[in-house]
Amino acid sequence: MHDDHLKLPSPTAWPMVMALGITLIFAGMVTNIALAILGTVLGVAGAVGWFFQVLPHEAHEEVVVRAAAVPVSSPRAVSGKVDVGVRKIIPVETFQITSGVKGGIAGGIAMTVPAAIFSLLRYHSIWYAMNLLAAGGFLSWAGASNAFLSEFHLQGLLAALVIHGTTSLLVGLLYGAMLPMFPKFPILTAGLVAPLLFTGILYSAIGVVSPILNQRIEWFWFFISQIAFGLVCGFVVNLQVKVRTPQFRALPFSVRAGLHGDTPPDFKQ
């Protein structure tokens, strides 16, 4: 079908001339006006020349096809080391990144329970923890009294929802991205890793993000909430169905059908 000529855009110096012209106009601004005049002439000439390269028809040149077709083959497959050329099958099953997000949402909801218990026990109001969190968003609340923080405030609720929601989502997202690295024990890893992540991020940031929270935070209760987050997050992730990566289909039928144990032969290379 292909003959021995191909069309390619023909070489042209006009774009270069135009670039030189524009540069000289600029150079004229810092040296001598004469350069700018020369630059204008070159720039216009370049623009005109370029214009006729493209219109009414794009200029093409014919190129002769020289090379023979390049054979494509894998030297590794040929060289006798059979296993190297074979498709690498790892991981066969994994969690989807969305499972991490779902876990994050569920954990975020679960986290409110210990927070509410803490508020009730210490300040006899269910809203205290929420307002404390929201105080980061309102500068005027920076010096608020405990009594003020114990009342219900609609804007406090909204701010706390936004802050808590975003953070939970993002932690869940990051966790979801980590999941393929340890897909076997999500409850353990989530119960351990997610609280660590959450605490680490907050501990480093809290002084600037919300000084008021920094002053009044109870790290014991905070840690309890973290564990609640982690365990629920891991539990939810564990409920999610593991998806088979596309590579699963590369396994031999006997493995896929479960006749051959769960470790594919290539897995242990």
Binding site: D3, A27, A69, V72, L139, P246, A250
Partner: protein
């Protein structure tokens, strides 16, 4: 697709022209070329030239700072050195070298014969190149404070009001503005070209979901460049109006605002880091899978994370300005936005690790640089999170800690990946293999030098050594650290010289590479090395993300597994 008969006559007419001197012929060929491969190589060559120049400037600064009360260069020269070093490295090394690789690789990877706008491509290259020449002409022509030849000395971010006529008389600052403007025009042209190419020139079967990740990341980085280079252009036009027409944009005497320049500059300046680092990610996305002998893990997540980084990076610029006193609300917002970037970046790092995990890793020099990149980029990201916390930033801003942090990104991540890309694609570009032995010397020397310089540079920063000082007193306790930092520069210099030697040597007597030396999977390896002018004799048709895997393993093609 060409019809045969009429074109042969045209061809015959053009051949019997008078033979010129072969050198002239070669020069003419390069000057008039619109071929994406030649333009890509010119981009890379000219970026390497400026890399050497800006590297020498860095060396001079390190010599000056190695011991206290040094008088190796004068304060004025030192100001020019760091201004030119920063400006050159960002605008005339970083951008061109990445655009060069993009130019060379993208049409090959998507199975096209050229870029979407080949002449615009040439124009963009030449205008950036002339911009660099104009910048360096300032050493001769830019009459500055003392009337003599004078390069710009206002720092690479050129804060107002230092750039006003009153404080920067003469033309040295104008050279900076004009050169950056020219480079900006070139960047926008190439960015536009890359996007149009990646979207409109794909070969049959190359759906967006099958684009090589390198191409995807170049789309993101070019889109980002389009949006952020223009604000810099706008700010430069304002500065020109201030300096030439007597406008008052940044003139505090007339009610103008110096902080506005900072905002405009950093709206460009921060995303610019991502414009530079995303192509480095792009190289890693191609190189790590090939030397792990596994397909990249989590392709959709990688694309989503890249796009996410692109968007989030537009909302973090003011973390360069915490010390201005933006107010608690803005500080909180920019601190949080900056931290949020860790999420998509983390996703990318985990995906690279998952790609490595269980793979049969081949430690070629390219792979060694890529692994160095992974490790160093992580550390650079962690110091970035430290700096995003505004109280810590108040303490460290303007100190050598910041210098160490961003050089960790620019050198430890981006330059390492650029070296990796050279070792990986040099065989394709030249047809010859680089020496792995010299390459390993290069890697280890550069690695040691890098860590000596930039690990220990954090310390004087914490001890309070400010940026941009040309010397310091002996009793500050900074000397030992500066000696270590400067000594690392020697290792890096030797490593870089070895690299240059390796490239020159390989060009003449390196082993012939063949079309596909790495047993790789993307389309650029399906054509000869170096590729012919037309790239592919027949435009390929592909059916999966790894077309060459499909060809090499017809019994088990990828297209069976992708949807």
């Amino acid at each position: 697709m060409a019809t045969q008969t009429p074109e042969i006559e045209i061809l015959n007419q053009s051949t019997p022209t008078e033979p010129r001197h072969p050198w002239l012929e070669v020069l003419h060929g390069w000057v008039t070329t619109v071929d994406h491969k030649k333009i890509g190589l010119m981009y890379i060559g000219y970026a390497l030239l400026f890399l050497v120049i800006a590297g020498v400037e860095a060396l001079l600064m390190r010599v000056q700072l190695a011991i206290p009360n040094n008088t190796f260069v004068s304060p004025q020269v030192f100001n020019r050195l760091f201004t030119m070093h920063g400006t050159t490295m960002v605008f005339f090394v970083g951008m061109p070298i990445l655009f060069g690789f993009g130019n060379y690789l993208i049409p090959l990877m998507i199975g096209a014969r050229d870029m979407a706008f080949p002449r615009l491509n040439a124009f963009s290259f030449w205008i950036s190149a002339f911009g660099g020449l104009l910048l360096y002409f300032s050493f001769l022509g830019g009459d500055g404070l003392y009337g003599a030849g004078n390069a710009p000395d206002v720092g690479w971010f050129a804060y107002a009001p230092l750039t006003s006529r009153v404080f920067s008389p003469g033309h040295s600052t104008d050279y900076w503005t004009l050169a950056v403007l020219l480079s900006g025009v070139g960047s926008v042209g190439t960015a536009l070209n890359i996007i149009a190419t990646a979207i409109c020139m794909r070969c049959p079967g190359m759906k967006m979901s099958r684009l090589p990740l390198l191409v995807w990341l170049y789309i993101v980085t070019s889109g980002l460049a389009l949006i952020i280079v223009s604000p810099l252009t706008a700010a430069q036009i304002m500065l020109m109006l201030d300096r030439y027409a007597g406008a008052h944009f940044f003139d505090t005497q007339a009610g103008g605002s110096a902080v506005l320049w900072m905002h405009f500059f950093w709206i460009f300046g921060h995303p610019e880091v991502y414009v530079l680092v995303l192509p480095a990610f792009a190289f890693a996305n191609e190189i790590i899978p090939v030397f792990s002998r596994k397909a990249i893990f989590g392709y959709p997540a990688m694309v989503a994370a890249s796009v996410g980084i692109g968007f989030i990076s537009l909302s973090v610029w003011a973390h360069h300005m915490f010390t201005v006193g933006l107010g608690a609300g803005a500080n909180t917002f920019f601190t949080l936005a900056t931290m949020v970037i860790a999420v998509p970046t983390g996703i990318k790092i985990f995906n690279w690790l998952a790609t490595l995990w269980g793979g049969r890793i081949h430690f070629t020099v390219a792979m060694m640089f890529a692994v160095g990149f992974l490790f160093q980029f992580l550390i650079a990201g962690l110091t970035g999170i430290m700096l995003s916390v505004s109280p810590l930033d108040w303490q460290l801003s303007g100190s050598y800690f910041v210098v160490a942090h961003f050089h960790y990104v620019l050198v430890g991540a981006i330059l390492f990946m650029i070296f990796s890309a050279f070792y990986y694609w040099y065989p394709k570009m030249s047809g010859r293999m680089l020496s792995e032995k010299i390459g390993k010397w290069h890697f280890w020397l550069f690695l040691i030098g890098f860590h000596l310089t930039f690990d220990f540079m954090h310390v004087p920063g914490i001890l309070g050594m400010p940026r941009r000082v040309y010397t310091y007193e002996a009793d500050r306790g900074w000397m030992i650290w500066n000696v270590i930092v400067s000594s690392g520069a020697i290792f890096q210099t030797i490593g870089t010289l070895l690299f240059v030697y390796n490239m020159i040597r390989a060009y003449f007597k390196g082993p012939i590479a063949g079309a596909d030396p790495w047993d790789a999977w993307t389309l650029e390896w399906a054509t000869s090395s170096p590729p012919p002018d037309y790239n592919f004799e027949t435009i390929p048709t592909i059916r999966s993300r790894r077309p060459l895997w499909d060809l090499k393993h017809p019994e088990d093609p990828d297209s069976n597994y992708e949807f």
